[in-house]
């Protein structure tokens, strides 16, 4: 789960990671009020779940409260386009109005899981304020890492090492250590999957501050972090994906026109790949779970055909423990209740696949029943008109 910058900064504050004074606002009036409260120069920052906001016009420095009204008015409701939003951009509904501070240095700090070692790793770099992926690719030696020993947390010597690697001086070293250790505590206490401060800055007056903040949470741990659910902003998510998540379905919308519904995530990805291989473009990823039931199939199908781009559907089920004939029955019942105007290709293999095919063929609905995965992909692509949306 992702959250907004201002929400991440609230968590930072709670754990003692220093952030500039700032207020989340939803209207021009609130923006002006926030600017007055802060006094002096402020930054107005669009709150969307994507990076690269500055380049897209989503971060503006403003000198007086009247100007804040104007800038906030322009920003609220705009479609902000960044390299992470896609070409349609994201509508700005919230702003963060924050005290602007003269910056001496821009640094980077982050915590992620290192899958190779199975440990969390705290990373810092003197190259802040730029895309860290770029730094990692071009000058990996400028990223300094310390791995967390499970159960020990970020130890004082590790935090010192990182603070010195950031070339902090004098009192900044102490501030840096405090900031990094607080960052780790925030990460651990909230079951985060990623924290990034880019940039972490040293101000002209020698303060270490988190100027930006990004936190992702481990979806698997949300059940034991009940307070976090209130931070979810559904307007940042695709409505179809939100709908699918209500039924415990894994749905991700894509740009193509061949809708697909598959049991199991790996097979679902492989099905998308084979659609592409045969000249089509998948409209989505949809995993109805390894053990598909007629209910999950019906719900999945409803979500799938809500996408207006879908010109053909491929249902690929490998029945193991779950019997194909049962699923076929579920598909028939679900489709009889819905007006489906696009061709539906069904491929079933595994337990009772033969009976399932017979059921589909003998039903009053016009299924295209495919024998092999390859045939299914070919027929689905051609049924959708060759993959062009």
């Amino acid at each position: 789960m992702k959250v907004h910058e201002y929400q991440a900064k609230e968590i930072f504050s709670e754990f003692g990671v220093p952030v500039p004074e700032g207020y989340a606002v939803f209207s021009v009036d609130e923006a002006e009020e926030a600017a007055k409260k802060i006094g002096g120069r402020v930054a107005v920052k669009a709150q969307i779940h994507a990076g690269g906001r500055g380049k897209g016009g989503g971060v503006k420095l403003v000198d007086n409260p009247n100007e804040v009204r104007k800038v906030a008015g322009e920003m609220l409701g705009m479609q902000l386009i960044t390299h992470q939003t896609g070409p349609e951009g994201k509508e700005v509904q919230r702003l963060l109005v924050e005290k602007a501070t003269p910056i001496a240095r821009e640094l980077y700090a982050g915590i992620v899981l290192d899958r190779t070692t199975g440990r969390y790793v705290v990373m810092v770099s003197t190259e802040g304020g730029v895309e860290i992926e770029k730094v990692a690719a071009e000058t990996p030696e400028l990223i300094i890492k310390e791995w967390i020993e499970p159960g020990f947390g970020l130890l004082p010597y590790q935090a010192r090492k990182l603070a010195y690697a950031l070339q902090l001086e004098g009192d900044q070293v102490k501030q840096g250590i405090k900031c990094l250790r607080a960052l780790w505590r925030a990460f651990e206490a909230n079951d985060c999957s990623l924290i990034e401060i880019n940039p972490m800055v040293v101000t002209e007056t020698g303060e270490v501050l988190a100027l930006d903040a990004k936190i992702n949470f481990d979806d698997n741990a949300l059940a034991r972090q009940p307070d976090l659910s209130g931070l979810r902003d559904l307007s940042e998510e695709d409505p179809q994906e939100v709908e699918a998540s209500k039924y415990d379905l894994n749905y991700i919308k894509l740009d193509g026109n061949v809708g697909c519904m598959v049991n199991g995530a790996g097979l679902a990805m492989a099905t998308m790949d084979i659609i592409k291989l045969h000249g089509g473009e998948p409209a989505n990823f949809l995993d109805v779970g390894g053990v598909a039931s007629s209910d999950t199939v019906a719900n999945g199908f409803r979500i799938l055909i809500n996408d207006a781009n879908v010109k053909g559907v491929l249902i690929n089920i490998f029945g193991g423990i779950v019997r194909c004939d049962r699923i076929a029955q579920g598909i028939i019942e679900a489709l009889q209740e819905m007006k489906v105007s696009v061709p539906v290709v069904v491929r079933m293999e595994g337990t009772n696949a033969e009976e399932a095919r017979k059921l589909l063929q003998e039903s009053s609905l016009e299924f295209i029943v495919a024998g092999t995965l390859e045939e299914a992909a070919q027929r689905a692509v051609s049924a959708a008109g060759g993959g062009q949306a």
Partner: protein, 291 residues
């Protein structure tokens, strides 16, 4: 022979009285797996529908059933603790089927595994099967056929697909292992390739990878360095997956440009591995590679 599980396996089912646990215990017993004990705290002294004795703790179950392996069907909030209990009881092979374990829990489990005598497979996996001998997991037994090809996969139903293709072509399997779709798993491609390398009865290996992480690249590098002598066929799912999105499995995500299918395919090909373009051609490719 085979690897990890076989005729010698004496299995404990942790979470034997839950919905999944009881259903799959019956399936495993029917397949011929020696299920010697079950564990559900509070239900010690009872027996399940198959007559398997239930204990309160893994240690008791192990002692009473002379068990050497466990399979875990415990819900995600308690699964890490169940794995830890199995490690403490020094079971040789532990398979965790449970999906959705918090990553922090698995980081701690992973630290305990290092230096322990336990090999963990999973979590979030279908389990292990040595066809004709022993099934420890949730895969449909009947699609498998005893033989000499090893299968290692991060997926569930995609593994069944691949196995089904092999069996249809008359190619049997020595052992098939679903290693799981999570970012932290007990056994990697590399760990299991090493076991297959030593297994006299495995003539070739199928690797089914997917986007996310670098386990496929690490396996490829090892194959290249050691000159692994058995033919390897691979498929990597997720060429069409968008970056930054989690594709069903918690571990299937391209992040910061890392973990793409392309990178994995290139690394595998550089190591001389046959990489299938199409998931429909895994069986055929194995047939050609073994010819």
């Amino acid at each position: 022979m085979s690897i990890l599980v076989g005729d010698q396996t004496r299995l404990i089912v942790q979470g034997i009285t839950g919905g999944e646990g009881s259903f799959h215990t019956e399936q495993m017993v029917k397949y011929g797996t020696q299920v010697v004990a079950g564990v559900t705290p509070g239900k010690g002294g009872q027996k399940d529908a198959n007559g398997v004795p239930i204990y309160n703790t893994v240690a008791e179950a192990k002692a009473a059933g002379e068990a050497n392996a466990a399979v875990i069907f415990v819900p995600s909030s308690f699964a890490a603790d169940a794995i830890t209990e199995a490690i403490a009881a020094q079971l040789e092979v532990v398979v965790c089927i449970t999906e959705g374990i918090p990553t922090f829990d698995m980081v701690r489990v992973n630290a305990l595994l290092n230096g322990s005598s336990t090999r963990l497979v999973g979590p979030n996996c279908p389990g292990i099967i040595t066809p004709g001998q022993c099934k420890v997991g949730i895969m449909p037994g009947f699609i498998h056929k005893p033989g000499k090809v090893g299968v290692i996969s991060r997926s569930g139903t995609l593994t069944y697909e691949a196995v089904y293709q092999l069996t249809e072509l008359g190619i049997g399997q020595s052992t098939c292992i679903g290693i799981g779709g999570d970012p932290i798993i007990g056994s990697t491609f590399l760990d299991l390739l090493k076991l297959f390398a030593e297994d006299k009865d495995t003539d070739g290996v199928v690797l089914i990878g997917e986007i996310g992480g670098s386990a496929e690249e690490e396996a490829a590098a090892w194959i290249q360095e050691t000159g692994f002598s058995k033919p390897v066929v691979a498929f990597v799912a997720g060429r069409t997956a968008p970056p930054g999105r989690r594709m069903g499995h918690a571990g299937a995500i391209i992040s910061g440009g890392q973990g793409t299918a392309q990178s994995k395919i290139e690394a595998l090909q550089a190591a001389g591995i046959h990489v299938c373009d199409s998931p429909a051609k895994i069986g055929e490719t194995v047939k050609r590679a073994l010819a």
